[in-house]
Symmetry: D2
Amino acid sequence: MTTAVLSDKKMKTFEEIESAVRSYSRGWPTIFEKAKGYKMWDTDGKEYIDFFAGAGALNYGHNDEAMQEKLIEYIKNDGILHSLDMGTNPRKEFLERFKEVILKPRDLDYKIMFPGPTGTNTVESALKIARKVTGRDSVISFTNAFHGMTIGSLSVTANSFKRHGAGVPLHHTVSMPFDDYVEDQSSIAYLEKFLEDSGSGVALPAAIILETVQGEGGMNAARLDWVKQIESICKRWDILLIIDDVQAGCGRTGTFFSFEPAGINPDIVCLSKSIGGAGLPMAITLIKPEYDQWEPGEHNGTFRGNNLAFIAATEALTNWETDDLSKAIQEKASILSDAIKGWVKNYPALKGEARGRGLMQGIAIEGEGIADEICAEAFNRGLIVETSGPNDEVVKFLPPLIIDNDGLKKGLQILEDSIKQVLAK
Amino acid sequence: MTTAVLSDKKMKTFEEIESAVRSYSRGWPTIFEKAKGYKMWDTDGKEYIDFFAGAGALNYGHNDEAMQEKLIEYIKNDGILHSLDMGTNPRKEFLERFKEVILKPRDLDYKIMFPGPTGTNTVESALKIARKVTGRDSVISFTNAFHGMTIGSLSVTANSFKRHGAGVPLHHTVSMPFDDYVEDQSSIAYLEKFLEDSGSGVALPAAIILETVQGEGGMNAARLDWVKQIESICKRWDILLIIDDVQAGCGRTGTFFSFEPAGINPDIVCLSKSIGGAGLPMAITLIKPEYDQWEPGEHNGTFRGNNLAFIAATEALTNWETDDLSKAIQEKASILSDAIKGWVKNYPALKGEARGRGLMQGIAIEGEGIADEICAEAFNRGLIVETSGPNDEVVKFLPPLIIDNDGLKKGLQILEDSIKQVLAK
Amino acid sequence: MTTAVLSDKKMKTFEEIESAVRSYSRGWPTIFEKAKGYKMWDTDGKEYIDFFAGAGALNYGHNDEAMQEKLIEYIKNDGILHSLDMGTNPRKEFLERFKEVILKPRDLDYKIMFPGPTGTNTVESALKIARKVTGRDSVISFTNAFHGMTIGSLSVTANSFKRHGAGVPLHHTVSMPFDDYVEDQSSIAYLEKFLEDSGSGVALPAAIILETVQGEGGMNAARLDWVKQIESICKRWDILLIIDDVQAGCGRTGTFFSFEPAGINPDIVCLSKSIGGAGLPMAITLIKPEYDQWEPGEHNGTFRGNNLAFIAATEALTNWETDDLSKAIQEKASILSDAIKGWVKNYPALKGEARGRGLMQGIAIEGEGIADEICAEAFNRGLIVETSGPNDEVVKFLPPLIIDNDGLKKGLQILEDSIKQVLAK
Amino acid sequence: MTTAVLSDKKMKTFEEIESAVRSYSRGWPTIFEKAKGYKMWDTDGKEYIDFFAGAGALNYGHNDEAMQEKLIEYIKNDGILHSLDMGTNPRKEFLERFKEVILKPRDLDYKIMFPGPTGTNTVESALKIARKVTGRDSVISFTNAFHGMTIGSLSVTANSFKRHGAGVPLHHTVSMPFDDYVEDQSSIAYLEKFLEDSGSGVALPAAIILETVQGEGGMNAARLDWVKQIESICKRWDILLIIDDVQAGCGRTGTFFSFEPAGINPDIVCLSKSIGGAGLPMAITLIKPEYDQWEPGEHNGTFRGNNLAFIAATEALTNWETDDLSKAIQEKASILSDAIKGWVKNYPALKGEARGRGLMQGIAIEGEGIADEICAEAFNRGLIVETSGPNDEVVKFLPPLIIDNDGLKKGLQILEDSIKQVLAK
């Protein structure tokens, strides 16, 4: 009661001045002040374990010391902060390191585009270049896909609430069933039939855009074999394959790119969120050289040269010089996975279902509002975790990749306590 | 010759690894290292006067000392860098200070939305909410408008090269003539007739979106009276008026908002670029409270909580506590304006025309490629200045607002020398 | 009163069984039984003078004797009535006669397409082929244009009530001002500026579609010089010129094609309504041979082979073997024009304005509903005449071209009596 | 050889004057002169059995004597031929008789709309009213659907060649799998999942438009149970069900409406083709009274009052006063069905598959071009029969419903002879 009153006072500024569109400050009604690694503290000094990681933008945790030092040094030296797509040292170093550390060892050959600093910018750029290169206008996306909130990206986003928010009908896209979408039905057979039949009503698309693990859509992990089949379909019909790795990339599933274990070689890859290292706005679009058919300036934007982000991004790449991080993620993914399976088994009232892959997992829970209640309870107990899925029915675990086993287990314990509490009501 | 070779080597990384879409690194083929106030230096130690200001994102100049200190302090203290739309101190302070320093003294009442950190994000959010509030789908924009590169913003952008880049037809918009578009014809009469005649073929729009001074479109400044008439038209037909002040706002024309001298009260205002103070990615959408009809999360994005930008943005607001900056801008605007008029008069071969308002002015030059040649020559001589307009025919002056008279005059001298050089060929 | 009750009974079937969309049976609440030349009779034996001519589909009047004979003969002989686009004698004869009597003497060279039997079919086919030939998607149409009610044609129709009826936003079209649309403004200057400026926001269109005299739009006759200028614009930018002569063609304005006196040579011409001779459903699309790039069957339809219509159409062409009909139309057009000018002058309360050309004229009347009242009164007095224009503000005169002077004058007298009656209220 | 030369001469007019879009006159290169019942004769006196029936517009055969008499009588009496939607006796009689003979006995309650005389007109009107009534913009149609060639109808037509001909992207529609579309996959399960999942990317549509038997799409007959399930889905989600019975209606499948045996009650029904009795252009849209929410004139067209068609249409209704026609169709359907099954069995080289229902059947044949060759051979032997399906792989049988057993068998013999001849090559 007292807490509620205090909290109200605390959030007054947001309630009175900020737009009604604000969202996280409603579910987590406090003011966050400090953060380090996998921990956050609010202005009351309360500590939180972070299983949210900036919606996947903080894979390397909060305020990595090496990054902090480099950022401070750059600022102190009057380094150029904002540079559009002019040449700067941080941009140059990022390009070189990304090629050296990420692309070369994976035998990948891409041109790197800076499309503006957000996830939706990279998706819009990917759709544009795919349409230009193929001369086709439509794009196939999948059920429960999330690609962004600007009109181009929204047109390949599946959620009806978000689509409706466009205020205009969304065109030039076709929604096809994601892996395992309809029980006992093959989404591959369905897609193939629509593409091979000239009477299907579905035109040959410029591209297929795919998240290998759908985050907002409910932590749905496509089987690797299914992903491989989608690549085959793309090759068979000369369709460009765009992997939107904005949330699942940068190590989230255990490899730098989420698609590595599927053994595919996408034509275009979208990266944002954790590519900026420290949570600073940045995005890149990777394009096979033969498809990099842009005219200079054909897609642009003011904040393509966020040098602080380049610095943190370059520092973050050191994590990928060895296999250590990958192995550690896989180890922690097992712990997470075991915990989720345990809850599914031990709390049958949840009618739970384990979802996801790597450190991108979730538990789908039947019963309207239960998942939200669990997250609210977890917040009270000092764990930051949110829901996803079309009906917010999935508790979504996105801990920073650098979380230690201790932190991970503590967080999981809070979550289990929260489940018990909610089920006890 | 030698320079060219060196330059080639220097830019190798960008040419080989970065996408062909890169643009500024072609026109200014060097690597920038440091910047302070209105000056920039490249890795060879060459100094440049900056008449570009990050395409308007650096109104307060590079690396303002007070901003630097606050940024460094925040990073040192493990302040939370990335927070989506969670509550944080920097977000809270920005909201309060913006209301106090900007809105209240101007008798403006807006809810503040963080729509994602780029100009195109704020425009997309403005279009969405206007369509939602009115239940109408079309939007009227103007000839030579530039509002952004994602599909929603691009649909209200006029440039055919940029529109073509969409790869899909752009809908739900109508392009109307900007002030003084067709010689001896009244664009107001034209617009009114299309709106009042139910047989015009143009539906009642959700909104009219307007830049009071078109930057990318060629430094076209609408007469204040014309802007006022557009507002009247919006009121008469119950159309929402969106002012896109992304480039012309934040003091660029001499007042914080570009529309202040016109005495209008827009329904929605889009701000980005210099709102972030130091060139860090940030944007806000101002919405009259009665139109702030968003559902929570109806528009979102990962980088809505760039706390470093909030800190610099809040510091930048101190510039607006008194009239001093405004007066200084107007003074420098006169110097700039006099210089341009002088060139128009003294170099008739340019067939020049003075354009713009405040520190957002330009000189339109007949003769294909001349404006570009002048900018290239200026770069060689140590001045950063670019072109705009549908055919890159306008040399565009966007010095930082904090430039001193000396710096301004030096830059203008370089420009004049460049004109002479180009005309002498 | 008694009449009203009787009328109600008479119309019961339509009111009870037919859809609410019915329209003419509301304004003219009677059952028509017979018709000959310019006269119609209802089931009560009441005679009407027809100044409506099936909305322009009965230029040759009702039940021309020669046509009747040929139709009956064909039916009696078991002639094939319905033939899609198979070869039949009536189709062959129509093709040959149309080329001989209409195209050759006017030095016009077109391929003749049968696009389905209605006006909207020919317009849809014209838009399709123009888009195919040019590879462009947008089409410029004009304010107050009417081209049909299917989605393609509706997209180039200007009336907001009709457009709204589409239930979907209408795309790929731009509405430009018709001749004399905005007072003291040159619509040609606007159009040219939008086309020549790559920053106008209006893409180079596949075609411009134009009615030289707008019937539904309010009997607006473009000046011949303006029409000529539109053709020049099309040539300058390589845009196809489509003349929609569905209502203004087949002699309505005094020449077979309405555009003849302008001396232009359109790329595509749409004909329907009176092309069928006796009011039987028929339409043709005339396409310059170089643009006749259809694949077989790329546009089709079940009723492209209405042989009864071909027979009447061929018979109707005899009217064009000499200049006699043209001259007679021009003579009667003068009588009509003089009458309208007289009313404008003698009944200043009408605030009337003369509109139109040939036997396609009207009087625009200020004051909401007045024009409708005049038409209602005229109906009571035995004259069939309707309104047009965005607000039904124009009384529209479309007598059959074969009306004699006596009939014309009688009709005009009834109209004048109706004006008096309405003004006397 | 000689024949070819003669034929060339004969078709010269069409080749030289008519547009390249002509289609049937290529496959059947002759000039048809007379027709009676199920027989046609060309100008050389050659007799043909008609298994095409005007693509389904001549269900009652050619030149029914009673119809001929009534048509001639009406013309002789100066009956009004063209009346838009004014009241006329033939219109009144048709409305009353249709209600009496067709609707009442089937316990159906519809308002009757005259949307213009072609199939595409009725479909466009159905889509419009469905969108208006529901306030939704999208419509679900099915793979291999054919609904017409104007932009609205084309947007729900599946064939890629026809869609491509639009010249613009087609919007506001989603293509779902028809019954039995993907082997071993349930199209009902897909549709339900897409509708029930708010994250499917498919919005709740205004309507589902369905042919119970797809003619152009390849004679695909949906199982009656599947049709019933579609109706249930429509009811469950408050979606309007539009049955496009343009080709399958008017008795073609054995009942007046094709959907009668499925026991459904569609919200809107589209009829054209044979509704005009004698092949004269006519169409109606049947709308449940509660959905007949048109404003007067909200959809219109010049040829909605084709009185000759109304007269033949009314006469045709006499066929439905008893069950005799229905029974006769079913009997003949068995003969047809047995023949097709026999060919499938006896000519395994065809890899044939029997398709369709009632007198709307076909045989799908593997091997590119074989079906076309069979039809060409049949033409030489005096049988008019065409192909359908996305790759013209189905020989399509649409004999007039009034064909006698003798005629049917003769035609089937010619077809079998043609199969033998083609296979012998």
